[in-house]
Amino acid sequence: MGLSTESQFHVLAVDDSIIDRKLIERLLKTSSYQVTTVDSGSKALEFLGLNEDKHKDTNQLSISPNSHQEVEVNLIITDYCMPGMTGYDLLKKIKESSSLRDIPVVIMSSENVPSRINRCLEEGAEEFFLKPVKLCDVNKLKPHMMKTKYKNNHQNPENQENEEISEEIQPQPQQQQSNNNNKRKAMEDGLSPDRTRPRFAGGLTVASN
């Protein structure tokens, strides 16, 4: 079977509840994704390399071009209700940023409020999951990540080869060890760095639909 394609995907999960972070991390890892968890929207932006400006000039959201790609994030899944920056605020910031807006965002919430759901979808969220999130929800993430993979590859011709999504005969997708050198940020507390170690599909990989 070789390496699952999922292991090439890196998900950033944002939730202020430690229980829910633990849960979403396990759900994603069970599906063989690489996972980083953070406990707030501002830490998520920091991880993404989006410099929240000292003066909250929203038009001025600046990206430091080098830091941004230090860790590729293929999808962001965030809780809606968080103190400070809500999941909705985070979604807006991401969609306003020219360098981040292509990253798919999924919102989770314990409350089934239709107006809230619509607001998030209108703002560009790909999905809205009711909490507690289940494995069958996580299975819906992959198509969204495939989309961005394609887009990214245009900008990144070296990776072109990997794009051919041949699920079965995947010789050795380079496990991007190179990503590792810049993981220092992830080591700070509150961030659980994903493993870049290859994960083998054995038994764990939940068949994507």
């Binding site: 509840s17 229980i19 829910d20 849960l23 396990r26 069970t30 314990s110 909490k131 764990l204």
Partner: protein, 148 residues
């Protein structure tokens, strides 16, 4: 086998009485050889979180001038963590609690706090017993009974 049957029956009774719901089964399904302590870890986080929130709630309701928004925020968090582990009765008590918060019904909020405490202590006790029994099964090389 006798032990297994005992655990199965105990666990089944927790579901039948509505103390636990299907979310707890979801948690157990996420536990495997590579993460043998996942459920125990989540459950102990739930205990810590609940105790902190129940203390915060008690303090918030002791104030002369009760800040119902604050109370509601604590109950909302407790509802979230209890639903994430499948502690159904705690979750349900939180739902009722929030309604009375909305109404700013002090008396009812007090009795809801008592109910939440009571349901929390119940599920804590049951979960501790269950996890201890399951640990024994695992130590003897057996598999944990699953309730769908």
């Amino acid at each position: 086998m006798e032990m297994w049957r005992q655990v199965f029956q105990y666990k089944e009774s927790l579901f039948r009485e509505g103390i636990l719901d299907a979310q707890f089964t979801q948690l157990q399904q996420l536990q495997d050889e590579s993460n043998p302590d996942f459920v125990a870890e989540v459950v102990s986080l739930f205990f810590e979180d609940s105790e902190r929130l129940i203390n915060d709630l008690t303090r918030a309701l002791e104030q002369k001038c009760i800040d119902f928004k604050k109370v509601d925020a604590h109950v909302h968090q407790l509802k979230g963590s209890s639903s994430s582990v499948g502690a159904q009765k705690v979750k349900n008590a939180c739902i009722t609690f929030r309604n009375f918060c909305d109404e700013q019904n002090i008396e009812a909020c007090f009795s809801c706090l008592q109910l939440v405490k009571q349901e929390y202590l119940l599920v804590k006790n049951k979960l501790e017993t269950l996890l201890r029994m399951e640990q024994q099964i695992l130590a003897a090389g057996g598999a944990i009974p699953m309730i769908e």
